[in-house]
């Protein structure tokens, strides 16, 4: 049993071994339907999520587990139950792992301290989203073999992005160079301490990148004046056809989804030959199977 609370805390060789395992879980791979047979995986989602929840659900099913789906809507949380009460009640049903999404950073860490089963972070606040980073790294490894010496440019709302944090840690651990790009209002302090380079000039950074990962820009950020408008954001940081011209010939485009088409990504780029966005989604299931195998089997 092992927790996956974040990429932080995992060594390079552990991450690599997990990604290597994920290959076996690709469609057409070995039969892994027995790995979690007779076990229960509890999906504990305190925040709406369709793709991550579905992906974990399919991963658990594919390993032969039963899945307990718990969502916050209409639950006892709205009656004032604390997070720990909820988690302990779920634990009492005997799952091998709790897959947890929560809007507060660190919530899975709190739960992990008080339950005996594995806790897998499926996204906590603005902290980490490790399974997303692993599937992104897996997708890039599929392309490149190794990540050493490659440059990944992550563009957008880094401040509020758990995807950015986990990817920064994961890609750095695997030997890549990571450049973060966005307006200063959406770049928090201290990212250099985590091994990132920071720029506010997308056009200057684009030609160096082997992969460009666009982050979803939340529409409410505009109301909070982190950016003046989505229009201006798209003008300064949107990946459009003209910018695509400046990219390396073989550079890829990524997005954790869901995409705001025409804001962070022009439709032609999102659907174009560089895009690996749907590969990311497919790989997600294989990577999450490997995560469940390592943590819960």
């Amino acid at each position: 049993m092992r927790h996956l609370l974040g990429i932080e805390g995992w060594r390079r060789d552990e991450l690599e071994s997990l990604l290597d395992r994920a290959k076996a879980h690709l469609p057409g791979g070995a039969d892994t339907t027995h790995v979690l047979r007779g076990k229960v995986v509890a999906n504990l989602f305190f925040e709406d999520s369709t793709r991550t929840r579905t992906s974990f659900h399919m991963a658990a099913k594919g390993l032969g587990a039963s899945v307990l789906n718990w969502t916050h809507t209409g639950s006892s949380v709205s009656k004032g139950e604390t997070l720990l009460d909820t988690a302990r009640n779920i634990e009492a049903t005997g799952p091998a792992a709790i897959v947890m999404r929560h809007r507060s950073s660190g919530a899975p860490h709190l739960v992990a301290k008080h339950v005996k089963c594995a806790v897998i972070n499926a996204g906590d606040g603005t902290h980490e989203h490790p399974s997303q980073a692993l599937l992104d790294a897996f997708t890039l490894r599929q392309r490149w073999g190794a990540l050493d010496g490659r440059t990944v440019l992550i563009v957008g709302d880094v401040r509020h992005s758990r995807v950015a944090r986990s990817n920064l840690l994961c890609l750095r651990a695997l030997g890549a160079r990571v450049v973060l790009c966005g307006p200063p209002t959406l770049i928090p302090p201290g990212l250099e301490d985590m091994g990132a380079e920071v720029t506010h000039n997308l056009d200057a950074a684009l030609p160096q990148a082997d992969a460009v990962m666009c982050l979803r820009i939340q529409l409410e950020r505009q109301e909070q004046s982190f950016v003046p408008s989505t229009r201006e954001y798209a003008r300064l940081f949107g990946l459009n056809a003209a910018r695509e011209e400046r990219m390396k010939a073989d550079a890829v485009v990524m997005h954790p989804g869901p995409i705001n088409r025409g804001v962070e990504l022009a439709p032609a780029v999102a659907d174009g030959p560089r895009s690996v966005i749907l590969e990311q989604v497919s790989n997600g299931v294989a990577v999450r199977r490997a995560i469940l195998e390592v943590c819960a089997a």
Partner: protein, 437 residues
């Protein structure tokens, strides 16, 4: 019955009166009678405290304590708070008004004072609210609060965001010559923040509270102070920018004082570690550069007092998501040990450390005590500077245990506390002894 106590051959550190050396201290009927380099004759019926190898200090004064009564007696009461205070060597505490009912009227002030009289352990000085209900809208009846016994006014826990109202507060308070104690936090800058904004908050993905949230308000209030010729006391200063502004304002002769809490000069934001809500407080633990700046300010006189911001909370207030965790830690029973860490590290002299716990706070608020000259109140704290011990939150006399210092090794501990010549704490036991009563 008259009570006479002779503290024999202790190292007396009394910064206000320039004393630091082995002395006999004789107290009678609640007052200091004599402090002597020579051995004093033992008066008949006197209790003799053999203080050889110990420090005999003026009782500590804490300008910033939450006693939680009325309203949250499950966290602390005036009685349990006083027990924690005397266990920590404090003979006087200033009680913050953000109780539930708020101390914005004389009835609440009187209730707190009555409870303190019943506890009969240490001096309790209530602070009254600046605004009715701490809402930041209308001034509370400051004159009534002061006549009922409030020694300061503050909306502690909340800033007075309305600058015009703050200006009037400082003006109006000049009639009563009480300090206006301020919690400096621009709520538009701190909104939604759970810890200091910096590399640690970025790594943890927690929304940060920038230092500017405090510094900008300190700047504003110093501008208002200069204009109103009022008296300002900045509570729990946490960052470099604030001490720089306060230092400069003092040099220009403004009537500003300030305090620093032990957690802010001992810990930095890395103490949040793995989302430890015991490291969650307002203002938040800052960067290591801020900690160094606070230490400098303790040394150079910018800081007037060490104050604990003793903030008791229940287990359930902390056993939640970090963002939901309630701010604050208990501090009365760990303050001396943490202050002595700076002495052992050579940052503070013993004399300066004692000044920050005694005469400094007394002077800032114009309170009695804080020194041991003949005629002063016989509020005395006896410290064993060499004893090594480990903080054990389960042993706290406070009703709450929320501290990030559980398990921390300390050197130096309070062994006796005397208030008005009566022994209220002795070797871990609280209560007035029958002999001295």
């Amino acid at each position: 019955m008259s009570s006479t106590v002779l503290f024999r051959r202790g190292r007396v550190i009394d910064p206000r009166n320039g004393v630091d050396g082995v002395r006999d201290v004789l107290v009678r009927d609640g007052k200091v009678v004599e402090v002597s380099e020579a051995l004093l004759p033992v008066p008949s019926s006197a209790e003799v405290v053999d203080a050889a190898g110990k420090w005999v200090l003026p009782g500590f004064i804490d300008l910033h304590v939450h006693l939680r009564e009325p309203g949250e007696e499950g966290k602390e009461t005036v009685l349990t708070g006083c027990r924690a205070a005397v266990a920590g060597g404090f003979t006087a505490v200033v009680a913050m008004p953000n109780t539930k009912v708020v101390n914005d009227n004389a009835m609440v002030t009187e209730l707190v004072l009555n409870r303190a009289r019943a506890a009969a352990l240490c001096h309790v000085y209530p602070a009254g609210a600046i605004t009715k209900g701490l809402k930041g809208e209308e001034l509370a009846e400051m004159g009534e609060l002061v006549s009922a016994g409030c020694v300061a006014i503050t909306d502690d826990g909340r800033p007075v965001m309305n600058a015009s109202l703050m200006r009037r507060t400082l003006q109006y308070a000049t009639m009563f010559d009480v300090p206006v104690m301020v919690h400096e936090e621009d709520l538009t800058l701190s909104a939604g923040g759970a810890m200091h904004e910096g590399a640690v908050s970025t790594r943890l993905g927690l929304r940060g509270i920038p230092a500017s949230a405090e510094v900008a308000m300190v700047a504003r209030d110093l501008v208002l102070l200069e204009e109103t010729k009022g008296r300002l006391h900045v509570a729990h200063v946490s960052c470099e920018g604030s001490v720089r502004l306060i230092r400069e304002a003092k040099q220009r002769g403004l009537r500003v004082t300030c305090e620093v809490a032990p957690h802010h000069f001992i810990l930095d934001d890395r103490a949040v570690g793995d989302y430890d809500t015991h490291a969650k407080m307002a203002p938040p633990l800052r960067a290591d550069s801020d900690v160094l700046a606070l230490r400098e300010a303790l040394v150079d006189g910018t800081v007037d007092a060490i104050a604990t911001d003793h903030a008791p909370h229940g287990v359930l207030d902390k056993l939640v998501e970090f963002e939901k965790g309630i701010n604050g830690i208990v501090g009365l029973e760990t303050a001396l040990g943490l202050t002595l860490e700076l002495v052992h590290a050579g940052v503070l002299t013993a004399n300066r450390a004692v000044e920050l716990l005694t005469h400094g706070p007394a002077k800032a608020f114009g309170l009695p005590g804080g020194h041991l000259a003949p005629g002063a109140p016989a509020d005395v704290t006896v410290v064993d500077p060499d004893v090594e011990w480990t903080v054990d939150a389960h042993q706290f006399l406070s009703r709450s245990r929320n501290t990030p210092f559980h398990g921390r090794k300390q050197k130096g501990r309070v062994i006796q506390t005397w208030v008005s010549g009566l022994k209220v704490f002795d070797k871990g036991q609280v209560g007035q002894s029958k002999e001295s009563r």
